[in-house]
Amino acid sequence: MNSEVRTFGIAVILFLAAATLPLISSGYLLSIGVSIAVYTVLATSWTLFSGPTNYISLAVAAFFGIGMYVVAGGIDLLPFPVLVLIGAVVGALFSAIVGLATLRISGVYFVIFTLGLAELIRQVVSWGQATMGTSSGLYVLTDFTDPQIYWALLVLAAVVFLIGWWIGRSRLGFALRIIGNDEVVAVHSGINTARAKVILFVISCTFASITGALVAPRYSYVEPTIAFNPFISFQVVIMALLGGVHRLWGPLLGVIPFTILWELISANFPTQTTLLLGAAFLLIVYFIPHGIVGLIESGIQKWKGDQHG
């Protein structure tokens, strides 16, 4: 219990420190800060589901885009907070449908299904806009400033961490760890595996939708190719894997270095980003399969071993 209190204290201090960023910088640094906040929410919530279950979801962009599109489509009609709420509900409902259809079946089919989901929604939205004769782009004109968006994302990140912490201690979290280890044992232990997976998938995707909704004002002009950009999904997966998916704070350790590195890469090698993203995937799979957390933990273990030996 003592160590838990200490961890919580450290988390609060880090959170408050992060919250001071807009007071220090307003330009480039803040925009990187916003990116880090966005990907922290996305990668951490992704890991809530994909970490324990090993179901690799490539659908983050789809749900992120849904949230963004709800805000973009309704900004002239409804107040922003209401739209964020609607974005969350739409994302939750849609992810429940996807989860119910795909999570009862093997993990491979799930990956494939999520792989093209963002592209599918993009096609359908584009088609819908063309059929209804509306223009493909939407303007999101609000008076929200970057610091406000940043703080909103920080609060959201805190909520994700709290929920993740709660799940880790709950029956649901225990059920998912059992499912991730051996689904046969899970069902014979009385776990309704499909329900547990769908609940977590919905939680995870809902956060992606809220994130998309919150950052929509930053884009000021939204069209399907921006909102449903599959690269968002791929980057989230790679950041989470880089950090490590077996600890709640693992993805954060991947998000921070990767976002900064990626910022440098896309500034200096704008035409090589795809190639380098591929190389990053291979590097992680072959050389750091347990992520930075894995490196740290095995380092600590070795150090302890040396101490005793």
Partner: protein, 288 residues
């Protein structure tokens, strides 16, 4: 009628593409998400060959197929095999191989972008119209269909009539039993993976005769091939061929009657129906 024939012609080429993935997934047990990029690379190669020489694209197969074979063999041998050996269970291998092939697909895209740029590429070959049952069709579509059909039949016969083909089918059914009757499962898997890549590349060459490609399209073809393989059943060639025709028809119907931008949506609807109604595939038996 026109829709049906165009759909069937497309389906024939899709069947070839899907057989490539089926060999890789069914025999070598690797879900290769870079499959579509191999197809696109072959299409680009054919484009380059045809633009440079003006010789029939079919001739390009002589170079493309062996090259794809070697590249895919190397991918299996040097990138997949370490994962197979490292994996503690099938689930771990699935996750690792999906992530690795995903990375490989990005590297393919990156190379294609660097070499050919990001534009849409197409060429015009045998574009003359053919009159068939009162409608006109591009000769290139018919040629692609016939070419695919020849290769599909050849592959089917090879798998069913030769010793090497039998070996692959044995590994597909049960790798551990196959190794008991002194089949080298690693070599058989590498062969299947390489052959699958070569077949997919041939499919890319066929499709390049009548479709327009850009470097980022690979994932769409990967998805289509996967939908066909899942619909047809992982180890059933007849099922895959039937499924390819169903997908070809569905896409053509949607493209002509609704909107050409919705072909992926059509594939997804088929995918969903299969997942909900017959997850074991059209001819597959439910296993447990």
């Amino acid at each position: 009628m026109e829709i049906i024939i165009i759909g069937l012609l497309l389906g024939g080429t899709y069947a070839l593409m899907a057989m490539g993935l089926q060999l890789q997934y069914g025999v070598a047990r690797i879900m290769n998400l870079a499959n579509g990029e191999v197809l696109v690379a072959a299409a680009f190669g054919t484009f380059w060959f045809f633009s440079a020489t003006q010789v029939s694209p079919f001739v390009a197969l002589i170079g493309i197929v062996p090259l794809a074979f070697v590249v895919n063999w190397a991918i299996y041998r040097f990138l997949m095999l370490p994962l197979v050996k490292r994996a503690k269970n099938q689930g771990q291998l699935e996750v690792d191989s999906i992530l690795a092939t995903f990375g490989i697909s990005f590297i393919f895209i990156g190379i294609l972008l660097a070499v050919f740029g990001g534009d849409y590429l197409s060429y015009s070959y045998m574009a003359s119209p053919v009159h068939l049952l009162g409608e006109t069709y591009g000769l290139n579509r018919i040629a692609a269909f016939l070419g695919s059909a020849v290769l599909c039949v050849g592959l089917y016969v090879w798998l069913n009539r030769t010793r090497a083909g039998l070996t692959l089918r044995a590994v597909a059914v049960n790798p551990s039993a196959a190794s008991l009757v002194s089949i080298n499962v690693v070599n058989a898997s590498a062969l299947a993976f390489a052959l699958g890549g070569a077949v997919t590349a041939a499919g890319g060459m066929m499709l390049s005769m009548f479709l327009t490609f850009d470097a980022s399209l690979g994932v769409i073809f990967t998805l289509k091939a996967l939908v066909i393989v899942i619909m047809g059943g992982v180890s059933d060639i007849r099922g895959a061929i039937l499924a390819a025709f169903i997908l070809g028809l569905t896409e053509t119907v949607v493209a002509i009657l609704v909107d050409p931008g919705l072909t992926l949506a059509a594939a997804y609807v088929l995918f969903l129906i299969i997942l909900l109604v017959r997850p074991q595939g059209l001819f597959g038996r439910r296993t447990s």
